[in-house]
Amino acid sequence: MAGHAQPAEDHDGPVSTIDRVVALQAQKRTLPPRERLERIFQVEGLDALYGGKPAVKDVTMDVYKNLVTAIIGPSGCGKSTFIRCLNRMNDLIPAFSQTGTIRYHGQDITARDVDPVAVRRNIGMVFQRPNPFPKSIYDNVAWGLRVLGLKDRLDERVERALTQAALWDEVKDRLKASALSLSGGQQQRLCIARAIAVEPDVVLMDEPASALDPIATSAIEQLMHDLKSEYTFVIVTHNMQQAARVADMTAFFSISRGDEGARWGELVEYESTEKIFTDPSDKRTEDYVTGRFG
């Protein structure tokens, strides 16, 4: 059953444009009712702090399996911080601390006895700026496979990953060439190939297309759509149209202010993408998606 958007009254230009976009995209997405979706992440009361100062406060939300979940919001609202909590990447930052729980398939990954290496094995990440290793294209994908013990049928796995990342045709004749000889868009797709080659459960994407041109961007968005059945994607994006295009669920974060200039991010609303863009419950969400601020 296709979810469809009600044609909204013509408020302003931006709203109706997004309506149209969402309506177009809605045909591609069939969102079952919430109760039937499998939860892969359960975040409860998450606070993330740098040097004691909160960056993100009191986030509670569930991420569902095999969906694309977008995190949107103005810059500085802690989207990247939040997503990095999901795979314990913030451990690498010295002054970082967090409270609250994050359950992954029911297991609390913030617990002391959980090995971040194991967490990251299952929850991969693609970063904002492409960061291929200074190795050949082949080795960029193969290195992770070798280290993690997936050495069998290496060539096959590399080809499959590059194909899924929509990069195989462009590089199949020069696998030994340095990864740094690729263009930015190709490098980012290589990073995606590298991440999915090791068959994680979830792929986190921190503004993966922000440094790329529109063509490369749409290649990546198509990729997410095609691979949704095998992986769960969580994507941070500052581009609302991108969220509207690719995401099934959208979480809107906003900046709250406190005394003495303190600022932190809070989860304002988390709904299906349709609802966020056509009928948001919170005024802040509405202001943001209609372009009134942020």
């Binding site: 992954y104 398939h105 297991q107 990954i109 959980v114 090995d115 290496v117 194991a118 967490v119 094995r121 299952n122 280290v147 993690l148 013990g149 068959e199 994680p200 459960d201």
Partner: protein
């Protein structure tokens, strides 16, 4: 296949315990290596301190050495300390102005190709072994004229020059172009700008660099062996003749068979080590202070 269970049992199939063990092993190796380095340092300094403190007394700097001291005549190394003071002082007087001028030339006046050639020359000079500098100065000044404090000082100055030039160059480069431009825009001539505006900004860095160079050169023995080592036991301060120096004295005493000589060597080594460690600490403290000044000024 991806695993969802993060407990140890489920991950055994993937070899994670083995990989974790390897990780821990390498961590251990790194910790041990660091401990080893620090251990060596501690052992060395402790040896010098323990053995040197025993023989450390005022005689060391007030009495001259007594050859063939089979009795217990008070003996010291006053000539060596005097010589080191004179020679290191002379070396600094030779190297400092030249080093600063070279740095000024490279930073303010030199065209790129000149700058890279002179820099290369300085780097090469820095890489010449100290013993080779010693026989160079020997061939230049000592042959035919005999050893002298001046020759020794010149040898040390050759070692100091690249150090002073490099550290001065570093701080000169830190002076923002806007400062120079402001001065020049007021009509102040170039030479005045350099000397009165730019140079004073760099004084802290120059002092630090010089202090470090002095510390480095005060302990050098090799350049002095061929230039100022054949000395008597009297105390004198005239650089026209060869002067005894602390490092050479330690060197000679260390090769002797007499344990009393060894004790004196330890004492002198302790004084030398203390001097070098203190000057290094001072230079480091000066450097952090001036860095803080620059960053807060910005």
């Amino acid at each position: 296949m991806s695993t969802h269970n993060l407990t140890k049992a489920a991950l055994r199939a993937e070899g994670l315990p083995r990989r974790r063990a390897m990780n821990r092993l390498m961590e251990l190796v790194a910790w041990l290596a660091a401990a080893l380095a620090i251990g060596i340092l501690v052992v060395m300094v402790w040896s010098v301190a323990r053995r040197g403190a025993g023989a450390l007394n005022l005689d060391l700097i007030t009495k001259t050495p007594v050859q063939f001291n089979f009795g217990n005549a008070p003996s010291g190394l006053s000539n060596a300390f005097a010589g080191t003071l004179v020679i290191v002082g002379l070396a600094t007087a030779m190297a400092l102005p030249v080093g600063i001028l070279v740095a000024i030339y490279l930073n303010e006046f030199a065209r790129p190709w000149i700058r890279s050639s002179v820099s290369l020359a300085l780097d090469v000079l820095n890489g010449v072994p100290a013993i080779v500098i010693g026989i160079f100065v020997f061939g230049l000044f000592v042959v035919g004229h005999g050893q002298s404090g001046y020759a020794g000082a010149f040898a040390l100055a050759c070692l100091m020059l690249p150090l002073v030039a490099r550290s001065t160059l570093e701080v000169l480069a830190l002076v923002p172009a806007s400062l120079r431009e402001a001065s020049l825009a007021l009509g102040v001539p170039r030479w005045r700008t350099t000397l009165s505006i730019v140079l004073p900004q760099t004084l802290g860095g120059i002092v630090t660099g010089t202090v470090l160079a002095v510390a480095r050169v005060a302990g050098e023995t090799a350049p002095l062996l061929f230039t100022t080592s054949i000395v008597g036991t009297q105390l004198h301060w005239d650089p026209h003749h060869a002067l005894q120096t602390v490092p050479v004295a330690i060197f000679e005493l260390s090769e002797s068979a007499n344990p009393a000589d060894h004790a004196q060597a330890w004492a002198a080594a302790l004084v030398l080590l203390l001097f070098i460690l203190c000057t290094n600490l001072t230079a480091r403290w000066l450097a952090t202070r001036s860095r803080r000044k620059i960053t807060t000024a910005r």
